[in-house]
Amino acid sequence: MKKILQLGLMLVLISTYSCKKKFEDLLTNPNQPVSLPAYLILGKELNDLSGGLGGNAPWDAVHRYNQFFCRNYQYYGDNAYAFNNGPFGVYSNDLKNIQQMELEAANSGAPARNVYSAAAKFLKAYYYYHITSLMGDVPMTQALKGLENINGPAYDTQKDVMLQILKWLDEANDDFAVLKTEVADKNFGQYDLFYKGDLSKWQKLANAFQLRVLVSLSKKSGDTDLKIGQRFTQIMGNSSKYPLFSGMADNFSYKYNNDFNRYPLNPSNFGFDALRLNMAETWVKNLTTLEDPRVFATCEPAYKLIDQNSWSLTDFRAFVGSPNGENQTEMETKAQGGLYSLIGRYRYYRTFAAEEGIIAGYPEMCFNIAEAIHRGWVTGDAEQWYKNGIDAMIKFYGITNGSNTFYFLRSGNPTNIADYKTASYNFNFDTYYNQATVKYETGLAGLNKILLQKYLAFFMNSGWEAFLNQRRTGVPVFSVGAGIGNGGVLPKRWTYPVTEQNVNNSNWKAAVDRQFGGQDVVGGELWMNK
């Protein structure tokens, strides 16, 4: 028995010898940090702006919903508006990290007003603007508190969310105004892929973005809490306090490059989908009706029409897009038969960095101001802003007064310039502008012209803006039909993610009840559009 006791003791000895310290050490993951500098999160968040939000990048899903292009090949998908399962991933992937960035900056001893928290205010405004515009009421005041409470947060009303967005943007303007006079944070500059740390541009961005938000609320211009007109006047009336974009150089835009951040269409994927995507009628027809040469820069002609009619390559009649609502079998047959315009090879497939991806740009701001003046929110020269917007966007495509050469590729290698055919086109801005279909006028017709030119300025940029503006104004008329799914009816919103019904049911239900009469469906009308 003594021996057993001895052995037992020895066992205890071994156990305790292998010690508490050891177990404590093994509680720490040696492979990942528990804390890191704020700029590493900034780097992630700024880079993320190039996509996300249910497909926000150039040539991503959003630009099919914007009716700029179509898919004609069933194997790789269709043209349906798949607005199910709204993008709540924004909370966990972006908004939470933005909050962490603020926290890490504060933990490292940064003062209350610091460049990370100022950028965070813009980023929060950016994301909340999108998720509320896409879905309606969304959690905000109780959101992002997972570390304190995992229970599902209540949904804030869209109006409250919009008010908070405007507040953040005001604060961001104030913060950047101060911070731009202080010593620059070099790390911020290094990770700021948009403005390289130029805080005066960040300040302009915050204000230009506020104009976008205000215009999006045009149906609520009488709301006494939002004070849309008053805010617009305030910003427009004090350019030193509220500096705005002064040209394309101020654009908040993502610059693509050859190696790591390639433009979504490029020579290496030309063979995959260049033939399976074709241009949409809504984009092409609105350009050809205006005899707008942007169609030559962005599209190939329909070669069968060129052959049949012996038209020149820059004959507007040769540019035809497919209606997004079209039956896909017919779309494919026509695209294969050369009856539809394909994506312009020269601009989009010749290099790895076709164009910058504008997220918030100068032309849009011009049109927003023109619309606000037109609506009487603020005084000013609506036509001048309207012209500035058109001019900037046409120049974006390198189109200048005089003879312009355009390149078209019927077959062959998009990187081989010898494979291209060229055609020239004489452009004159005044001639273009003075067309009855373009020239500014008062009344609804004038407003619609502003809105149409704004739509044309959103081609492959600014994410959801083309769709959201069309939803708000009905301009331009979008194609409907079997091809867009949902029984051929354009959806008005994204449904909330299905998981909300399971894990946050009471809050989800309250939000759906008060907004859409209990039905979480894509046809629900949002408060901002009522």
Partner: protein, 1088 residues
């Protein structure tokens, strides 16, 4: 690790005390107990003096000493032998022979921690398989051989070279491999069946309750061969097996009538989109009619143009001279594959004396793949030895080393990295595989492959000869056991053991090879290095005694174990190459990407096991184990968890007179818990930082067994942002601070009944397992986090396993034995932590839910106005709708093994199979939607396919509607306004291409789900044992047999004809698969 020191001290203490005990008893009678059949000592035989309480047991060599006098009657009993009475006639040198007991021949099994027990005392399900049957008709991976042989064991055989099978007990896959009591981390490739005596299968919690958390779903115990029973004291055994692989069991059904392209059009210009559908094509191109088309090998005539006009009037102009469009490559895939070879040679030398036993085994396996230029070598070395210091102290050791090496093995995963993808699914027969052997373009050797397409696909010969994936792995496990019988009825065992591997995998991707995400086609080099070291240091004290005049028999054990695992891995890849053909990380064009992961785990365990035998009536068992596990957080549970088991067995036939026909009846019942702190059985290349480092290919999983630091402090993961800069993001997963290890509670009951003097035996086990999970529950993403790891979710798994064995015929020269295995189980949610409208509490866990096509209430499919099958999401409100198609687990799994013997011939054959469950046939889906499947040229599709080029004339048989649009239920997708609809015949003509592509949609799976039911003639072995009188002439050979062998010979009733469902016995979604083959050959076994 700091525990070595006390371990060594302990050993020293034990040695010292061992010798001080040696002379403690008087030696009155000494002797040896041997087996009558082979004269080998019977270890552990028990000796009692009749009419007294005196008893002793024999040592490992069968030698014993007992206090007795001449004339006393000794009762000798031993597991597996008939009990005898022996009258003492002298005091030393007794030789007592025991006869093996045929009835209980298989009734001693190795249970948890290597403890041998009589099956009649077991209260839970264990099944045993002797490897003698498994080394003739061989499998490349030894575990594959077990399919169909054990009730409740599911083996998903993966026949691809170097892929490992997945194994489930009762539907669950967290299974531990144990060698002679020591856990090993194995991918099963380092297990050499020639060195294995038998496998014991501990199914479920009760049997495995004594093992740690790694065995929550059961354990497979490997009992190695030791020493020899040869009367001469030594033996040499040689086993050689040669098998060929050819003759396909399942082969994709492909058409050779139409070539690549789309809507019946194709013209080659550059293979990257310059022509007409000459890039990333499907096989919806023109029919092979000898018409002239520009093709990949056509003559390029600079300055001259050729215009091709298609039937829809469109044209293509290029400078390749058109050539006749013919099916030059009929059966390209079949012609590309070769006969495979599996050759195994093994030699073992064994020796045994009273003092020691020794066995060396060395084997080599070579496998030549059915894909050219691919193969695998495995060299295995095993050494087992034992030394008896004294009658009370024995030291034994075993070491197993295995090296697996392959300079080139296939990547089968879906994508351009896979041959089947390139040749079987996405290539037409417009080119011949024979023309692809010269795979470099002229003047561009080492830089540019030659093929019919350059955007997506690769030349098959180029792939197998230039795109090389290497695999080099060292596996080693071993243990040392010190047994010391330090007092009467007590013994102590010390058992340090290790299991370790080191692996290097390499991939040389040549210039111009393409795969998903590597579209620049500039080559790459990768290295994946992983090392794992595990040690288990175990101490056990065992006690057994008969008390109260033998009424109570007590077998008890108390033990402890220290487990330490350390893992480290580095994965590095170039980002394209500078210099083609130089496969070194320094040759990277863009900065090299590296990922590393290291982890360590410590588990301290204490456990006990007690068996109480109450005379002949009852055996009651109980075990308990307490673990302190470093993967758990230091919360109120202090990183600890306890689990236990209890059970009872009674052999009714031992004390109740049953009808004569019943020769044996045993009832058993047990209850056990099993717990797991979320350790992960395997790990990928990047640790748990992410999944696959590449956008393509296999994510190789190697054995792991550590946690993923899921309960450590929240961390950021690092990734790459703009311009390759490093960026961080915070976790999206939270932890409940109060988590405890998960908990599975199993109740088992069974009956073991035998008839006709044991000629027919039926063993049935019923089980019910309640699993209280530790897992991830979705939370509202608006909290900033998507999931929380929490103790939530409860499933119940109920099932039955039955083993029927019988001797159909037993004559002197002829016998026929049959073994039938059958098992079934069903898993349901008791509490679903992530309920969906389709899978709620009470529903099966394995329900297969997927979007589908809209059906009318009478079952007819509805067409959309575009003439295609209408998807639920095409209907109003149908965006999230899904349909329940069935369940994934099989209804039941069965196997029948037959062993016939006639004189010197024996014949063994096995059928096994699966009934029920769904399988999603990936090859069929891809080839139908891609136009390559045979079905796309048959029936109505075949009639209309030629007209695709002019817009299509195919009208889907069925209905559509006019007027009011169908509205569907947002959950079920069933039409809710049927009474308002006007249903009319579908008349809309479409292309076969679009119709078939929709039919075989990736998301709507109505026509791609198939019944999994199948059966196989798994194995046939015909053996001739050379008669002893013939062998007498060959002096050195003591026994010899030769066999003709075959495996996987016939596949019966396979609805999913394009794939071999063997690989997906319990898996719904099939990946692409190489055609499966028959394997046959011969085996020679010689003992010198």
């Amino acid at each position: 690790m700091t525990v070595q020191l006390p371990m060594r001290k302990l050993l020293a203490v034990l040695f010292l005390t061992a010798f001080s005990f040696t002379a403690a008893y008087a030696q009155l009678v000494t002797g040896k107990i041997i087996s009558k059949t082979d004269a080998a000592g019977v270890a552990g035989a028990s000796i009692e003096v009749k009419g007294s309480s005196k008893g002793a047991s024999a040592d490992a060599s069968g030698t014993f000493t007992i206090n007795a006098k001449t004339g006393d009657v000794l009762i000798i009993s031993a597991l597996g032998f008939k009990q005898i009475n022996y009258t003492v006639n002298k005091t030393s040198g007794l030789i007592i022979e025991l006869e093996t007991d045929a009835r209980s021949l298989n009734e001693v099994v190795v249970t948890a921690l290597g403890i041998k027990k009589e099956t009649k005392k077991l209260s839970y399900a264990i099944q045993e398989v002797k490897t003698a049957d498994l080394v003739k008709a061989r499998e490349p991976n030894p575990i594959n051989s077990l399919k169909g042989k054990v009730a409740g064991l599911v083996v998903n055989i993966n026949s691809e070279l170097l892929r490992q099978p997945s194994i489930n007990f009762r539907g669950q896959g967290n299974i531990l491999f144990v060698v002679d009591g020591i856990p090993i981390r194995t991918d099963t490739w380092n297990i050499s069946p020639d060195d294995i005596e038998s496998y014991s299968f501990l199914k479920g919690q009760t049997a495995a309750a004594l093992y740690g958390s790694n065995a929550v779903d059961g354990a497979i115990i490997i009992n190695t061969k030791k020493g020899t029973k040869d009367k001469r004291g030594f033996s040499v055994e040689f086993n050689s097996s040669t098998m060929f692989e050819n003759g396909f069991l399942a082969f994709p059904r492909l058409q050779d009538e139409y070539g690549p392209g789309s809507t019946g059009k194709y013209a080659f210009k550059d293979g990257v989109g310059g022509g007409v559908n000459d890039n990333d094509y499907d096989i919806w191109g023109p029919r092979f009619e000898g018409q002239l088309l520009p093709q990949y090998d056509g003559e390029v005539v600079p300055g001259q143009t050729f215009t091709t006009t298609f039937r829809d009037g469109s044209t293509f102009t290029g400078n390749i001279r058109p050539t006749p469009w013919l099916a030059r490559g009929k059966d390209n895939l079949g012609r590309f594959l070769q006969t495979g070879l599996l050759s195994t040679n093994h030699i073992s030398i064994a020796s045994q004396t009273d003092k020691y036993d020794l066995r060396f085994g060395m084997g080599h396996t070579y496998q030549r793949a059915i894909v050219p230029n691919m193969g695998l070598n495995i060299t295995n070395f095993n050494m087992a030895s034992g030394y008896n210091f004294s009658k009370k102290v024995r030291l034994s050791a075993n070491i197993n080393y295995s090296r697996q090496y392959s300079p080139n093995f296939p990547d089968v995963n879906y994508g351009p990295n896979s041959l089947i993808y390139n040749v079987g699914i996405w290539a037409g027969s417009d080119w011949s595989v024979d023309d692809m052997k010269n795979y470099w373009q002229e003047g561009k050797v080492g830089i540019q492959q030659k093929y019919a397409e350059y955007q997506r696909y690769n030349n098959p010969w180029f792939m197998v000869k230039e795109w090389l994936r290497g695999h080099y792995k060292n596996d080693l496990y071993g243990y040392v056991t010190l047994d010391w019988k330090f007092a009467p009825n007590f013994n102590v065992m010390l058992r340090p053991g290790i299991s370790t591997y080191g692996i290097t995998r390499t991939e040389k991707m040549p210039y111009s090879a393409g795969s998903y995400g590597r579209d620049d086609r500039k080559g790459d080099y990768r290295e994946d290095n992983r090392n794992l070291f595990e040690s288990n240091n175990e101490v056990q004290v065992r006690y057994n005694n008969k008390l109260f005049k033998n009424i109570l028999q007590l077998d008890g054990m108390v033990g402890g174990n220290i487990q330490n695992i350390r893992y480290n891995s580095v994965y590095a890849t170039t980002n394209y190459l500078n210099v083609p053909g130089v496969y070194n990380l320094n040759n990277s064009l863009l900065p090299v990407r590296t990922f590393n992961w290291s982890a360590e785990q410590l588990v301290l365990s204490g456990y006990y096991s007690f068996d109480f035998g109450v005379s002949k009536y009852l055996t009651v068992s109980t075990t308990g184990r307490l673990d302190k596990h470093s993967n758990l957080p230091d919360n109120k549970y202090k990183q600890q968890y306890f689990y236990f088991s209890t059970g009872a067995a009674t052999v009714v036939s031992d004390y109740i007179k049953l009808p004569d026909v019943v020769s044996f009846l045993k009832l058993k019942g047990s209850y056990a818990t099993g717990r797991n702190p979320q350790t992960i059985s395997t790990i990928g290349p990047l640790g748990f930082i992410g999944g696959n480092p590449l956008d393509y290919g296999d994510t190789y999983q190697s054995p792991y067994g550590i946690g993923r630091y899921a309960f450590a402090k929240y961390t950021y993961s690092l990734g790459f942002g703009y311009n390759n800069s490093v960026v961080g993001s915070f976790t999206n997963r939270l932890n409940d601070p109060d988590i405890a290890a998960d908990n599975r509670k199993t109740t088992e009951a069974g009956i073991d009944i035998r008839f006709f003097k044991n000629r027919l035996a039926l063993d049935v086990t019923y089980f019910s397992t309640l699993s209280e999970l530790l897992g991830n529950r979705s939370i509202s993403s608006a909290t900033g986090y998507d999931q929380i790891t929490v103790n939530s979710g409860v499933t119940r798994n109920r099932g039955v396993e039955a083993v029927l064995s019988g001797t159909a015929i037993q004559k002197k020269n002829f016998s026929w034995n049959v073994l039938v295995n059958w098992s079934t189980f069903k898993r349901v949610w008791v509490d679903n932590p992530n309920p969906t409208p389709w899978i709620k509490n009470g529903d099966r866990v394995d329900l297969v839910v997927s979007p589908g096509f809209v059906k009318l209430p009478d079952g007819r499919y509805l067409h959309n106005t575009d003439g295609l099958l209408m998807r639920m999401r095409d209907a109003v409100n149908g965006g999230n709708a899904q349909r329940i198609f069935g369940h994934g687990d099989p209804d039941f799994v069965w196997g029948i093994t037959n062993n016939l013997r006639y004189k010197n011939f024996s014949l063994a054959f096995q059928f096994d199979g699966v009934v029920g469950g769904l399988i999603w046939n990936q090859i069929r889906r891809r080839t139908i939607s891609g136009g390559r499947h045979l079905e796309t040229v048959q029936g109505e599709w075949g009639v209309h396919r030629p007209n695709d080029v002019t817009g299509g004339t195919f009208v889907g048989a069925g209905v559509t509607w006019v007027g009011v649009k169908p509205i569907v239920d947002p959950v079920t997708g069933e039409i809710t306004n049927f009474k308002d609809l006007t249903i009319v015949p579908n008349t809309k003509a479409v292309t076969v291409q679009n119709y078939a592509s929709r039919y075989a949609s990736s998301s709507e799976r109505d026509f791609i789900f198939q019944d999994r039911t199948f059966a196989k003639l798994r194995e046939v072995t015909l053996t001739y044992n050379i008669p002893a009188n013939v062998l007498k002439h060959a002096k050195f050979i003591s026994s010899m047999n030769v066999s003709l062998v075959g495996r996987n010979l016939i596949l019966f009733y396979n609805e999913s004809k394009d794939v071999d469902p063997d690989q997906f016995t319990q898996q719904v979604f099939s990946d692409i698969q190489s055609p499966s083959t028959r394997r046959y050959g011969f085996n020679i076994n010689i003992i010198f």
